[in-house]
């Protein structure tokens, strides 16, 4: 059964480690929907969060193949339990003065914020699950989206377990 999986990978913060991980996905035909990397709670280690799709066999192979990379310390399928998954989107939308109030109404409803204003555009910043950002984009489309940038999902398992 195909599904979406969110995997957190703890890696040595070494040059080339992103290439090792992304290269593995590429050459073995695993899909990457999004990938984020940043520092972790431990100096010298980074955490990557990859959202991928595939059946359970593919997921098992992804985990096992990842563990073969020497710089990979730990692989966790955080999507298998309750988790918090968040993404940030920046949307530059056409906003003539007449359209601004409507747009601001949408922004408020989504608990998003406006982070830049120019004479005929706004930059909207939205944080949330990917679905929420998708919905926001849909609603802003009629006004004209000039530029869109999304970070991809970063995520964490809920509760005290690590």
């Amino acid at each position: 059964m195909n599904g979406r999986h969110t995997i957190a990978i703890l890696v040595n913060d070494q040059p080339g480690v992103l290439q090792r991980v992304s290269g593995l996905f590429g050459r073995r035909g695993f899909n990457i929907e999004s990938i984020t990397v940043g520092s972790s709670e431990e100096p010298g280690l980074s955490r990557m969060v990859i959202v991928t799709t595939g059946d359970n066999h593919t997921l098992e192979q992804i985990e096992k193949q990842l563990y073969k990379i020497i710089d990979v310390i730990k692989v966790v399928d955080i999507g298998s339990g309750p988790m918090v998954a968040r993404e940030l989107g920046l949307i530059k939308v056409t906003a003539d003065p007449s359209a601004r109030p409507e747009i601001l109404g949408i922004v408020e409803t989504f608990r998003a914020s406006v982070v830049d204003i120019s004479p005929n555009s706004l930059i909207v910043q939205v944080v949330g699950g990917s679905d929420k950002i998708d919905a926001m984009i849909e609603l802003l489309k009629p006004y004209g989206i000039r530029e869109l940038s999304r970070t991809g999902v970063t995520a964490m398992a809920r509760g005290s377990a690590r």
Binding site: V11, N12, P15, G16, Q19, R20, G23, L24, R27, H57, E60, Q61, K64, Q65, Y67, K68, I69, I70, D71, V72, I73
Partner: protein
């Protein structure tokens, strides 16, 4: 032949001799670190980016350095050395083209899990990323085909990196590790402190198996009526041939050894069925297909073994023993997975193993089948048959040589007609199928085994992919015996074009290739040609008796095919048997 100057020394002796803490260059650190790892032979080719390293080697006699005539020859030689000795093979090349010439050899070793440490030079750190002369991102290029790789940024890191590289290469699932050393790093001075410990959080291969899983396997064996042991290269690499024999004899389970597993179990043993798969024995393939329990020990269910996956071993419960968890369940769904080193697993298993008592009828059936359908060909007195040549080589070397092969028909005939009784006697590129591998790998095997006869069986195609290494055989008197089965055609491609592409023979004609006798003689290597049985035996015996390298060109029948054969997309019990009577 060059004498092995480095005799085996204990760790303490090595540290005493080479481990002094002093300020030296990166190049000197490299050489001392290699000596500390017990390296006695290195294959290489110098160039601009490794000039400091080669300068440090000037007048250096503590290990052999063999100057090959192509970097590809160097890495295949290191590979042959590693496969035949179990030690790590080492080769050195310069940056850019030197490094990229190693790529095929690295991929060959990676596919067959061969431990290599591959050292490349690179342009100075100040020039990296500027498209400098002879710059190539070899770490990036080889990422998919190395077990691990390093770009060294500081000389002081070298002792740690080299020690880690040897550890990673030769533990767990073995494989090639690349160390890329920029030119300035090789000349940088730092305090040399040998490393004896390895701390790698992300690398802890599971050696000892889970006892419960082993017990499950043993219970399954007791219940099985038609069990089969499928033994792969992992059994050779973990040095488990004695354990495999003990386990097979105690349980009484018939054994098939894969192409890379040849030698892990004695070929002449009554339980041995030969190798399975595309050109394997009918008995082994039928046994797998009919089995109710298939115990895979260190093989990876390669497509050349399984044939059409959907119809592979359809009635069998699958047990898979592998040091690499990622292999388990990758191709074939597994009922009893056992992660661990083959030797450790079998040591544990032998103790509790019982005779598979329900399999008496099965054993009898397999004995009958072995007798009924062995490998067979139509011999001829008019034309020299390649199968006959391999059998003659087997007979005259008493089945005791190290045999290396290239890739193609001759490789399959060598596997079929040169039965092995000892591990590490068979050196062949199974996974990648690398032409040009056969001859240089024999040079490495001979360097690692100066007292054994090393025979390299090649086709006329592959021999031309690395024939330049005849030079180093002649110069160093490396007594490799090279057999060229010359059918004047790319035989395996011809066979497929005949059987699958309707006799449309496209670009396979090798007529007009050089006169191999003259070619060998041009390098100063003794050479013979044979076109019939009498000439063949006389020439081959003269080659074996000659104190040095020798080449024998056997002019064999052009249209000969390898049988049995499972065509791609068929299950392995659908075998073309050929027309042998």
């Amino acid at each position: 032949m060059v004498a092995n100057s480095a005799t085996l020394k204990s760790k303490e002796e090595l540290i005493e001799k080479w481990g002094k803490h002093e300020v030296i260059t990166g190049s000197e650190m490299l050489l001392r670190s290699l000596l500390l790892e017990g390296v006695d032979c290195v294959f290489g080719y110098p160039g601009g980016a490794v000039l400091y390293i080669y300068d440090a080697m000037y007048g250096f006699e503590d290990f052999n350095h063999l100057l090959t005539r192509h970097e590809q020859g160097a890495i295949h030689a290191a590979d042959g050395y590693a496969r035949s000795t179990g030690k790590v093979g080492v080769c050195i090349a310069t940056s850019g083209p030197g490094a990229t010439n190693l790529v095929t050899g690295i991929a060959t070793a990676y596919m067959d899990s061969v431990p290599l440490v591959v050292i490349t030079g690179n342009v100075a750190t100040t020039l990296i990323g500027t498209d400098a002369f002879q710059e190539a991102d070899i770490v990036g290029i080889t990422m998919p085909i190395t077990k691990h790789s390093y770009l060294v940024r500081k000389a002081e890191d070298l002792p740690r990196i080299i020690h880690e590289a040897f550890h990673i290469a030769n533990t767990g699932r073995k494989g090639p590790v690349l160390i890329d050393i920029p030119k300035d790093v090789s000349n940088e001075k730092a305090l040399f402190k040998p490393h004896t410990e390895v701390k790698l959080r992300g690398y802890n291969p599971t050696v000892q198996p889970n006892k419960q899983q082993v017990d499950k396997m043993l219970r399954a064996i007791e219940q099985a009526e038609r069990p089969v042991l499928l033994v792969g290269g992992g059994a050779v690499y973990s040095g488990a041939h004695e354990e495999v024999l003990a386990f097979a004899e105690k349980t009484g389970i018939p054994v098939t050894t894969t192409l890379l597993g040849l030698g892990a179990f004695p070929s002449g043993h009554e339980l041995h069925m030969g190798f399975p798969g595309m050109h394997g024995t009918w008995t082994a393939n039928m046994a797998i297909q009919e089995s109710d329990l298939l115990v895979n020990i260190g093989a990876r269910f390669d497509d050349r073994v399984t044939g059409k996956l959907a119809g592979f071993a359809p009635h069998a419960k699958i047990v898979h023993v592998d040091i690499d968890p990622a292999e388990i369940g990758k191709n074939v769904p597994t009922d009893i997975p056992i992660v661990g080193d083959v030797k450790a697993v079998l040591q544990q298993a032998v103790a509790g193993a019982k005779y598979a008592a329900k399999a008496d009828a099965w054993r009898a059936l397999i004995s009958e089948r072995k007798a009924a359908k062995p490998f067979a060909y139509n011999d001829s007195d008019e034309e020299l048959k390649p199968q006959w040549v391999v059998s003659m080589i087997h007979e005259t070397t008493h089945g005791d040589a190290i045999v290396t092969t290239d890739v193609g028909q001759h490789q399959m005939w060598a596997a079929q007609y040169y039965p092995f009784n000892k591990p590490r006697s068979w050196v062949t590129s199974g996974g990648l199928g690398t032409m040009g591998f056969g001859f240089p790998s024999a040079i490495g095997a001979q360097m690692g085994n100066p007292d054994r006869t090393v025979v390299s069986i090649n086709g006329d195609g592959g021999m031309q992919m690395c024939s330049q290494e005849l030079a180093i055989c002649a110069i160093n008197n490396i007594p490799v015996k090279v057999a060229i089965l010359n059918n004047q055609v790319l035989g395996m491609v011809r066979q497929w074009q005949e059987l699958i592409y309707d006799n449309r023979y496209s670009h396979i004609d090798l007529a007009g290739s050089p006169d191999f006798v003259k070619l060998a003689e041009a390098y100063g290597v003794k050479a013979f040609r044979a076109s019939n049985k009498e000439e063949a035996r006389t020439a081959w015996e003269a080659a074996l008796a000659h104190d040095g390298p020798a080449v024998v060109e056997f002019v064999v029948r052009k249209g000969e095919n390898v049988y049995p054969m499972v065509t791609q997309g068929s299950t392995i019990d659908q075998m073309l048997m050929g027309d042998a009577e």
